[in-house]
């Protein structure tokens, strides 16, 4: 069979798309370089950002928060998706409803509800309310539900879970081993896809963090934007670059044949 060619229409659309997405970034870049006298070019804005210790502090916080969110979501949703596929198909509609709900209840409402409930209705312990890893992390896991569950769901659908489980069991393996040694390696790619989206969400989430009065990387970016000129533009690009690099890293870490297998079966 003749190898399919790179279609002209593909080139057109990808180029148009690239133009729309790259030009605003280029405009920001040009602006960030103009901090010299009379708008002459230099890199001082970038230097300022790198030397700001708040930059590193909030970046570290947001990265750790992302990893925490990924971990908790996977721990909650991998077994859930597994049991739904294996044993409890009747529970599926409820789970799907709950994982769609974060779209119906937008972040701005979720934060109002969380604050009202845990501050007012239930007097949650102070360590929970004060810590970004506790309060904010819990909210972020909820935001990640739809993406992580969808990926895992597609991943589980792509493998024949009943057969794998039975095979493993008939070979004498207990549940824990089945889960760890047979199931998880097969959905690794789907889990990584979910993790990838969660990382981007947490690194970009502003509404909840700012209304709940926490200082994260996105709120730091917002602050710099209101106080400084060229550093703000430099910071936007740096943050875009960091998140993109992290995604590429995750992709490289998890990529390969596994990815194609999960993706191939992931028809909605």
């Amino acid at each position: 069979m003749r190898r399919p060619r790179f279609a002209i229409s593909s080139v057109v659309w990808l180029t148009l798309g690239a133009a729309y997405f790259v030009i605003p970034l280029a405009a920001t870049l040009l602006f960030s370089l103009q901090s010299g006298k009379n708008y002459s070019y230099n890199l001082s804005a970038y230097g300022q950002v790198i030397h700001d210790e708040e930059f590193w502090k909030t970046l570290r916080l947001s990265v750790v928060l992302s990893l925490e969110t990924i971990l908790i979501s996977l721990v909650l949703l991998v077994p859930t998706a597994y049991w739904v596929h294996l044993k409890l198909p009747r529970v599926r509609p409820y789970i799907e409803f709950l994982t769609i709900l974060p779209f119906v209840v937008p972040p701005i409402i979720l934060v109002v509800g969380l604050l009202k409930f845990y501050n007012g209705t239930v007097h949650a312990p102070l360590w929970f309310l004060e810590s970004p890893y506790a309060f904010l992390g819990s909210a972020y896991v909820v935001l990640a539900f739809p993406y992580v569950y969808r990926s895992l769901d597609a991943g589980f659908r792509a493998i024949d879970i009943h057969t794998l489980t039975e095979a493993s069991q008939s070979l004498g393996a207990p549940w824990r081993t089945t889960l760890a040694r047979v199931i998880i390696p097969n959905i690794r790619a789907a889990a990584l896809a979910g993790a990838f989206l969660t990382l981007a969400i947490v690194m970009g989430e502003f509404t909840i963090a700012s209304l709940a009065l926490f200082t994260t990387f996105p709120t730091y970016i917002n602050l710099v934007n209101s106080q400084q000129v060229y550093e703000a533009a430099a910071l936007s690009l740096i943050s875009f670059g960091i998140t993109w690099a992290a995604m590429i890293g995750l992709l490289a870490f998890g990529g390969g044949p596994g990815r194609r297998r999960a993706a191939a079966g992931a028809a909605d």
């Binding site: 399919p4 859930t80 779209f103 934007n225 993109w244």
Partner: protein, 312 residues
Amino acid sequence: MGSEGPRRLGHLVTAVSAEVERPGPNGSGRRRPSLAWLGVVPFFAYATAFLLLPSAVVLIGAFQDAEGGFTTKNVSEVIHTPQYRHAFQTSIEISLVTAVVGGLFGLLMAYAAVRAGTPRIFRHGLTTFSGVAANFAGVPLAFAFIATLGTLGIVTKFLDNHFGINIYQHGFSLFTFTGVSIVYLYFQIPLMILVIAPALDGLRTEWREASANLGGSSFQYWRHVGIPVLLPSILGAAILLFGNSFAAYATAYALTGGAVNLVPLIIGQNIGGDVLSNPHLSEALAFGMIVVIGVSMVLYALLHRRASRWMR
């Protein structure tokens, strides 16, 4: 192909179990269902604690008055005040426009990157970029567009200097409904790409070949095979885009400071702003948002069933 591994194992196991009585270790035939329930309890508990209860608190608050008694005054105030009605109207319009336009362009770009002839690097590049761009919002995005399409933006100046067309003199402004929509597409299109790419993977090349072999044109392939298969996913994605746009807060504020009347902006003003007002009013507004998005979800569920019916 990737799925052969488990399938071969499956054949082996089926052959084995045909000869051997299925063992029931620990009488698990009876205990398995209860074990399975335990597996999903953590999720339900978490969802209840951090999603259902907080949402319920807001919904109940929408119907409370200052003393805590039941009232529909807040909701009726939302419905009857022109400013709020107008905000809902504008929010819905922007969400529809960006869902449709974003969905269309997202689909075209995703297909261009995913289809057979395109080098894989475009797909990886596009997916990772979309992951970041879908969450690039707020002040950085707003300024990126001000620097591009603002009164002194590079594209504005380019068009003026090289083609003599001053878009602002022709009535365009970045700080209107149109401008905000253009900016919103920056995260709507990537979201579409992320959501529709896996579904596009499901379009087997064999189908395309089969259609060609039977003498069908490209148009016929799409009309009779491609689009029908994709329709449930496209509809689902469009609803997602609608909800995403409806809920967007930081970008609209950063761009217009409140000049374009949108519901999340009003809620934001009431929560942390200088407007000392009835907090239950913001909850009533939130209730309105939930109703709008909820209705769109129900519509999606209905359309999804219809669209997937032929596949059963």
